[in-house]
Symmetry: C2
Subunit: 455 residues, 2 copies
């Protein structure tokens, strides 16, 4: 029996798609596509048993299995590989439990981040990870990539909100890792090992999360600067004042110009760089006042208190995902550098982009030192000049090596996926990579789980 027949027999026809349209849709996530591959089938699982049956069929036939949530990843972790089965978990979207007293929830992997947050908000709680894709991305996808977001400088990344996991292993068996309690140190941290492993060690079928308190008070500050350097210095000044914002986003001139184009605003006229800061919680007002003082002293034009515009700008930034998707002419990066290197790193980016005649704009989760530069080359009649792609590639490589030289990482929150594998060896030495390959082998000896990704 073919694997398609076997999957159809086990799951029913409604869950197994083999038509061209569906397969093309599920063949890629939002990352650049280096080489487009179609799966041989798309399974839309509705239960743990469905996942187990799919894994077992793939194991029996030696067929690669690529699990995915909403497909909003930008590193190609969910790109199909040749002849694989794509396993979509989007239909497993039930919130199985939400305990306001324990401040925990148990969810299926396909639950949308924003839906979990809406359910938690009723009880004054929140699921802290807030990637810009939160309205469309799934908790399972957040777990697979150990997603960050805007507020993780204060509230932590996905790992910090995950207490326990149900995972289907490569042999189809189901295990439970972690603990229902906030703390627990029994045995090795298998939960942490699965978080961020991009579907290469097992398929997460349930996630127990710790919820945090939804802040009742939020203050927002927009600070315009005459240049990027002084805005980045403002980030360090806030740190030096030992005030922990919930959000600290840094936007360069290129980003402001783009926002003006999109929304008809006049941000570029008001400054060459913008620092957006939100404080929250019981100390939000006092923290905002302290931050305003520090920023004004550093030469910023700071919005007045309760500025509706500042709030609007943060919302615009928060929901910016989807305004643009990378393609072969436009690539977004995700490096992080130690905070003290923010200014130097951005200066280096500007120099290399200018030298290579490649366009550049930068937004940064500045509290984390996590930068998202976007490089692109202009198109005329939907084509670019022949050597533009080469220049784009070179700038990308240079931006990566510069970040590493400053003590940074090639991926702060998007994951290695398929797209960034080529740079992983620059960050991690061979013995560390070999250890990871051996862990992969231990969990997935036949190599069927998302091969060619993450490690």
């Amino acid at each position: 029996m073919s694997i398609i027949d076997e999957l159809t027999a086990a799951l029913g026809q409604a869950k197994v798609a083999v038509d061209e349209t569906t397969m093309a849709t599920y063949a890629v996530d939002q990352a650049p596509v280096l080489e487009f591959k179609l799966p041989q089938a798309v399974v839309r699982a509705e239960s743990v048993a469905d996942v187990q049956a799919t894994v077992r069929a793939c194991a029996a036939h030696g067929v690669a299995l690529v699990a995915r949530g909403a497909g909003t990843g930008v590193s190609g972790g969910a790109h199909a590989t040749e002849g694989c089965v794509v396993l979509s978990l989007e239909r497993m979207n039930r919130i199985l439990a939400l305990s306001p007293d324990d401040e925990t929830a148990v969810v299926e992997p396909g639950v949308i981040n924003g839906d979990l947050n809406a359910a938690a908000a009723v009880h004054g709680l929140m699921f802290a990870p807030d990637p810009a894709s939160f309205r469309i991305s799934t908790v399972g996808g957040n777990v697979a990539t150990n997603a960050g977001g805007l507020r993780c400088a204060k509230y932590g990344v996905t790992r910090d909100s995950v207490l326990a996991l149900d995972v289907v292993l490569a042999d189809g068996s189901l295990i439970h890792t972690g603990h229902q309690t906030f703390k627990g140190v029994a045995g090795y941290d298998l939960t942490g090992l699965f978080v961020g492993s991009e579907g290469t060690l097992g398929i997460v079928v349930a996630v127990t999360v710790r919820l945090k308190y939804l802040p009742r008070e939020v203050h927002t500050i927009a600070a315009f600067y005459p240049d990027f350097r002084s805005a980045a210095a403002g980030v360090l000044a806030v740190g030096k004042a030992r005030v922990q914002p919930a959000i600290m986003e840094l936007l360069d001139g290129g980003t402001l110009a783009q926002l003006d184009d999109l929304h008809g605003s006049n941000l570029s006229v008001r400054g060459a760089s913008l620092l957006l800061i939100q404080t929250d919680g019981f100390g939000a007002a006092a923290e905002a006042a302290a931050i305003r003082t520090v920023l004004a002293a550093g030469g910023a034009v700071v919005t007045t208190e309760a500025s509706a515009e500042a709030e609007h700008l943060v919302e615009m930034r928060r929901h910016s995902r989807g305004d643009e998707v990378d393609d072969e002419y436009r690539v977004g990066e995700d490096v992080a550098v130690p905070r003290s290197k923010l200014v130097d790193y951005v200066a280096a980016l500007e120099t290399m982009a200018a030298a290579r005649h490649v366009r550049l704009k930068i937004v940064a989760h500045a509290g984390d030192g996590n930068l998202h530069p976007t490089f692109w080359v202009d198109r005329v009649d939907n084509t670019v000049d022949p050597d533009a792609m080469e220049r784009l590639g070179k700038v990308l490589d240079e931006s990566i090596t510069a970040a590493l030289a400053m003590g940074g990482t090639i991926t702060g929150e998007h994951g290695i996926g398929q797209y960034k594998l080529r740079w992983l060896g620059l960050e991690q030495k061979e013995p560390v990579r070999e250890l990871q390959r051996r862990i992969k082998e231990l969990f997935d000896p036949a190599g069927i789980l998302n091969p060619g990704k993450a490690v």
Copy 2:
């Protein structure tokens, strides 16, 4: 050449002790001793090279290696095994780097937690993990056990403050895991795998930590209750108000009586249970006010603002480690339960202790649902009646199974070590334990690193 000769030749005589007194001192940590074993040598390493030489000698001779920091663990993770070499890291106590701008530090494993905090405080920063042993325990030990402490409900456990590790593997090679930046998702989370692994996967020789902001304002509340049940209800009420204290310690009547004995206070007269709460940061005053209102509504007698007594009580609690050490007649536990189960679990403990005629007192990091009940039997002329030990053992077992039945864990922050191995199978199913054994084998195929511990 014997391993002793080899170690002495490689490291010099001053670092290799074989005298009875030293060996006896380093044979145990602060956990109950089930079976006392002497090591065959104690190595006091002063450098990474010393550690590598020691590991290589042990590997070559097939001798077990038990690494330790200050030996303040209470689960026997550092107890010597038959004929082992004990590797003390206490002399590797240098703070290698501290960057106030990056808010990070790099330390050798033997740095005392309190010393790192003192160095960080100069810059308005802190190392968040604060086990009660912080004045004497080492950062390496904190990492080995993934130590918690009083303020982890707000600031996280050790794992949450560790960014990167230098680790000597079982073959003597040195690797570096993690990242210098706050965020980083390149590859599998090896750093998290080593944290809490109790020296069974490798020897940590340097730790890169993220520092957090030292709060400038702290408010302290002491709330006396007529019974434990209403005090535990107070914990839930504070949670329901969605206020996150930095510290929330719950003390029962037995603990109050003991404090009165030790310090001549009259706490027991004032209540049968005490809830100690600290808020910190810019919102500390507003949070404390909100908490006072909630606690008073729940029947507590709450200290007035700026109560010197409340602060004194927290300091007493914070520094309580060392007042008593467990022995065969007295055992401290470390379970955690979901917060909503606090009241039921304590009621269950009281019932089982009464039924078995075993004495009981309880302190809890209530914000985490992490309880430290202490069970003991009284001694007369330094002996106990013959069946007392059996009753003590039974209560211990019952306290563990009751916690698990409520969705809890057998260890919130102390680790499995040697002492709690017997209960691990009750919490984790065989497939999960087998996965961990295979990870252990992958890192340490000869089984020389702290055998018989943790997994």
